[in-house]
C-alpha cells in the first residue's frame, strides 16, 4: 500500500511541471478558467479549478497572458489569451519538451533495457 502512495506522489510531482505548458497550449484562443479546466480534462489532464485560477493570474502577472472581462454573456467571465511574449515562451517550452522526451525516451529504452536489472 505504501508503494502506491509513493507512486502517486511522484506522479503528481511529474505532472506539476507539465501543467503550465498544458495551459499555454490551449490559450491561442481566448478561454476562461473553467472552460480551460474542462478542455484539459477532456484531454486527460486534470487540474482542479482552485489551482487553475491562481495560476492564470500568476501567468498574467508574468506577462505571458493577457486578460479581458467579457460581460456580454449570462455571467461575467475573465478570458485569458497568450500575449506575444507568452507565444514566444510557449514555443521555446515546446522545444525544451521535445528535447526532454527524446532524452528520457533514450534513457528508458537504451542502457540496461528494461530499467530493472
Amino acid at each position: 500500500m505504501d508503494i502506491k502512495e509513493t507512486i502517486n506522489g511522484l506522479t503528481q510531482e511529474m505532472r506539476r511541471g507539465t501543467i503550465i505548458i498544458g495551459v499555454l497550449s490551449q490559450l491561442s484562443e481566448p478561454q476562461y478558467g473553467y472552460s480551460l479546466v474542462s478542455i484539459l480534462e477532456e484531454k486527460g489532464i486534470n487540474i482542479d479549478p482552485g489551482t487553475m485560477y491562481p495560476l492564470l493570474r500568476r501567468l498574467e502577472k508574468q506577462e505571458l497572458l493577457e486578460s479581458k472581462w467579457d460581460t456580454n454573456e449570462t455571467r461575467p467571465r475573465k478570458y485569458y489569451l497568450l500575449s506575444p511574449t507568452g507565444k514566444e515562451v510557449y514555443r521555446q517550452l515546446c522545444q525544451e519538451w521535445q528535447m526532454m522526451t527524446v532524452s528520457i525516451e533514450s534513457l528508458i529504452r537504451g542502457g540496461t533495457g528494461d530499467g530493472v536489472s
Binding site: 479549478p49 482552485g50 491562481p54 455571467r75 475573465k78
Partner: protein, 336 residues
Amino acid sequence: MELVKKYIYAVTNKLPEQQRADIEKELHGLIEDMLEERTQGGIPTASDVEAVLLELGNPSELADKYRGSKRYLISPELFPTYIFVLKIAIAAICIATTVAFVVETVLEPAQIQGQLTSYISSIMSGIFQGFAWVTIIFFLVDYKGLNKQKLNKNSWKPSDLPPLPDHRVKIKMADPIVSISFTIILLVLLTFSINLFGVWFSPDASIRTVIPIFDEEVFRGFLPFIWVVFALNILSDIMKIILGRWTIKLIAFDIVVILLHFVLAVFMFSDSSIWNPHFLQQIAQPDLIQHESDGLQFIQTVWPNATQGVLAILGIILGIQLITTVVKYFKIKDLT
C-alpha cells in the same frame, strides 16, 4: 448562496486590496459555472453548493495559492528557537514575580489579599509583555537578518560557508540561557518591586521593615531606558542561541551593549536624586536602632558615598565583561 458569499469572503478578505474585487468576481463566476455543470442547468440545492465548495477546498489554502506564498510572522526556520526562548522568558517572569510575591508576603503577612491581587495582575502583564517583546525581537531578527541571507542566496560563494565548529568559537547554550533568565528576573523586579531594594530590618520576629534605597518616582522615570538596554541584552543572547558560535559582529554588538549599560548607569547615578531622600531619617528611627546600631553606623558612613560606590562597582563589573569580550575578539579573530 449565503454559503458561497461566505466562502468567497473567506478567500479574498486576506488578499491585497487591489486584487480583491477582481478575484471576487472571478470566483463568483467559477462557482456558478461549477454549479451549472453539476446540476445540468437545474436549480442547485444546498448539497450541490456544499459539494462544489468542498471541491474548491479550504479557503485559506486557496488564498495562499492566490498570494503565491504563505505568510509568517516568525519563519519556520526560527520557530523552534522562538518557542525555546519564549519558554525561558515566561519561566523567568513567573519565577521573578513569584519571588517578589513571596518576599512581600513574608514582610507583611496581613496584606496578603492585596498582594495576591497585585501578584496575579503583575504575572499576567509580565507574561503578556514577555510574549510581546520576545515576538517583536524575533520578528526583527527574522525580518532584518534572515531575509538578507535569502537575498544573498543568488550570489552564494563557497567561501561563504561557515567554518566547522571549533570549541573556541562555540557558544555554550547555557550561557545565553542563564543570561536571559537573570536579565528578565532583574527586569521584572526593577519594574514591579523596586520598593524591595532596600535595607531590611526585623526588630522582632513578627515585624519586618524595608527602608527603600531608591526614590521610587525618580527610578520609574528611568525604567524605559532600562527596558531598552535590557531588551538589547536579550537580543544579543537570542542571537547567540540562534548562531551558536561567536562572530565578529556578535562580539561588536556585545561590546556596544556593555557600553550602553555603562552609559545608562552613569546617566541614572549622575546626580543623587535617584536615592531615597529620607533614607537616613527613616533608618535612624529609634525602634530600629537598638537592634542594629553597629549596622546603622556602617550605613550612615556608606550612604553619602553611595553614588560613587555604585558607579565604581558597576564600572568594575562592566569593565571585566568588556575585557573578556575584547579578549574573545582577539582569540577568534583568525578563526572566523
